[in-house]
Structures are given as C-alpha cells and as structure tokens.
Subunit: 158 residues, 2 copies
Amino acid sequence: MIGVVTRSLTAVDSRCSIARGLEILGQKWTLLIVREAFKGRTRFAEFRERLGIAPDVLADRLNALVENGILERRAYREAGEREREEYVLTDAGRDLAPVLVAIRDWGDEHRPTGFGPAALPVEAATGASVRMAFLTDDGREVQARDVGLVRGPGAERF
Amino acid sequence: MIGVVTRSLTAVDSRCSIARGLEILGQKWTLLIVREAFKGRTRFAEFRERLGIAPDVLADRLNALVENGILERRAYREAGEREREEYVLTDAGRDLAPVLVAIRDWGDEHRPTGFGPAALPVEAATGASVRMAFLTDDGREVQARDVGLVRGPGAERF
DNA sequence: GGTACTGAGTAGGTTCGGCCAACCTAGCAC
DNA sequence: GTGCTAGGTTGGCCGAACCTACTCAGTACC
C-alpha cells in the first residue's frame, strides 16, 4: 500500500475544521471519487474507467475514504460470479453534497465550459431541483459573495 | 518557479464544473491560502507564518491564484518602507465562501475538535450569523443529506 | 483436473511535486 | 559603504503519483 494519510497539522490548524476536513478531502482524487460515488458508481473498475486514475492510487484513496467513514465496503455477488466488494457512500459521505455543490457552483460561474452544468443538485427523494443558499437566523437570504468568516469559539488564534 | 498548473482533464471531465474547479482548488494549500485571505491576511510572510508552507510552494500557489483570478496583487507602501505587493481576494475569490463553509460544516460535524468551530460564517456587512442551506424553487428547505446529483445539460455522459 | 476469463487489486521503475535550507534582491536607514 | 527587512528564487532530497505489467481468487468450460 502506498502512503497512509500522514499530513501533519500545525498547532494553529489542529482546531480548524477546514484544515481537518481538507486533511482527507484535499488529497488529489478524493473529491472526484466522491463525485463518482454520488453519480452511483460503486466498483473499483468503474472509478478507474471514469477517472483514469492509477490503480494503486485508487486503492489507496478508497482505503482512506473507508477509514474515514465516507465510503463503506459492502459485499455483493452477481449471478455466476464470485463475491466481490463495492464501495457505497455512508451518511458522512452523503453529507459531502454541499462541498461538491459549492465547488460545482463556483466552477460553473468562474470556469464555464460553454455547455452548461454537467451535474444538477436535486432533492434525492423527489427529484426537485435545489440550490445552495445562505440564511440568517431569521430566514433572510444572504448572497454568497457577502459572506465572511469570523473567529469562532474553538479558535486558538485567528 | 515550480510547476505551472498542468493537470490534464480527461475528455469525460473537461465539461464537469467540479473537475474544473478542483483543477485549481484541489491543489494542496490552495484552499488554506484562501481561508487565510478570508481571515484578512494579505502578505507573503503572513501566509507563510500561519500555514508553515514552504516559500517556493507558496509563491507558486499565489501565482496560480492570481492567474486564476482568485487573488489580485495590489501595491501598498508603509511609512518609511519601499512599495510592496499584497494579495487580496477578488470577487471570484469571495465567491469561494460557500466552498470553505461547506468544508467547515462537514469537518465540524464529522471530524470534531472538541473545541467548537474555529470560524463562523457571517454576513460581512452586518455581522449577522448565517448558515448554509438548500432550497427548492418554491423556497422549501432540504437537508444536505437528502441532496443528490443528476445529469445536467452540459454532461457528455454521466 | 486443466485452461481460460474477469474483477480487483499489487509490484517495480520513472517522473513529478512538496519540503527544507540557503541564498538573492530592492529599497530604506544609518 | 553596511545592515535590515519583505518577498521571494535556487538546489538537493524525498515521498507521492504515474504507468505497465503482473498476481490472485473464484467461476466457467472442457
């Protein structure tokens, strides 16, 4: 197996949720694998074919995603085949939808393809199209560009 | 200068806004630099001190961020000092707030620090705290976990 | 029992990107 | 001139990614 996730966080970052999230999500290929999982891919060969990723790197990323609770291995068997394992999103994995949608929205606006969006966010149960928004506590919507970050309770320094 | 951004996209990904966004954002350090920019850092030494990043890599990432329109170089001069350049977020850079907030929310929920969130999203103008949400066209809120992705008009295949 | 086939990886060698320490440079102060 | 400082650049090292080829387990067919 190639490298386990060993990215060390500096003291100042150990409390930052963004840094901690990026420890896994920031690795090359990770979010593209998750994107494929959202599209319904579950098997090694499917990920490999869609992404053109080297098999050793894919095996490493899938292990990391399983270890971090984003994917889970599940046994399956097709008729006349031996038992194999596939990779499906866990709840924590499905909770990554906002990350993918946020990146999609940004890429769509600032690096347009000229073909329109390749993926659309929907409510899974009904298929109703949804969009990402920011809301104040009293339900008023705020434009993304007007959102900033301020120091929170867990910050050691800011 | 070390490597320009040369990540090649496979044909299947060239139309995907997620892949196109990740081409820049997916590089190591990029989003952490943007996070620091949101916190108000502007100078090489500030980024370097906060992130503990190697200077050559920082120079490369700052160049890439400027080339991609996320940061812009701006001249400034302090009393008794020579003119220098600092890096400030552009509109496209501020539009990355949803990406940071989405990662923050996920990290906060699934990789908690025990200290609470280190950064909080607010409306910049008023300081009012905001949260990220998904809305249907008729204004109903949908939980993040219930959001999926479907093929959009720009998809070559899905 | 032997051979072939398939999905899911593993292994070896090369290349690329990140890391670190050291060095460079422009302008200001003295 | 010498020194100081912010903002980088350069060179060497090393781990991670890449590519190709190979293995391994179980099934199918003969």
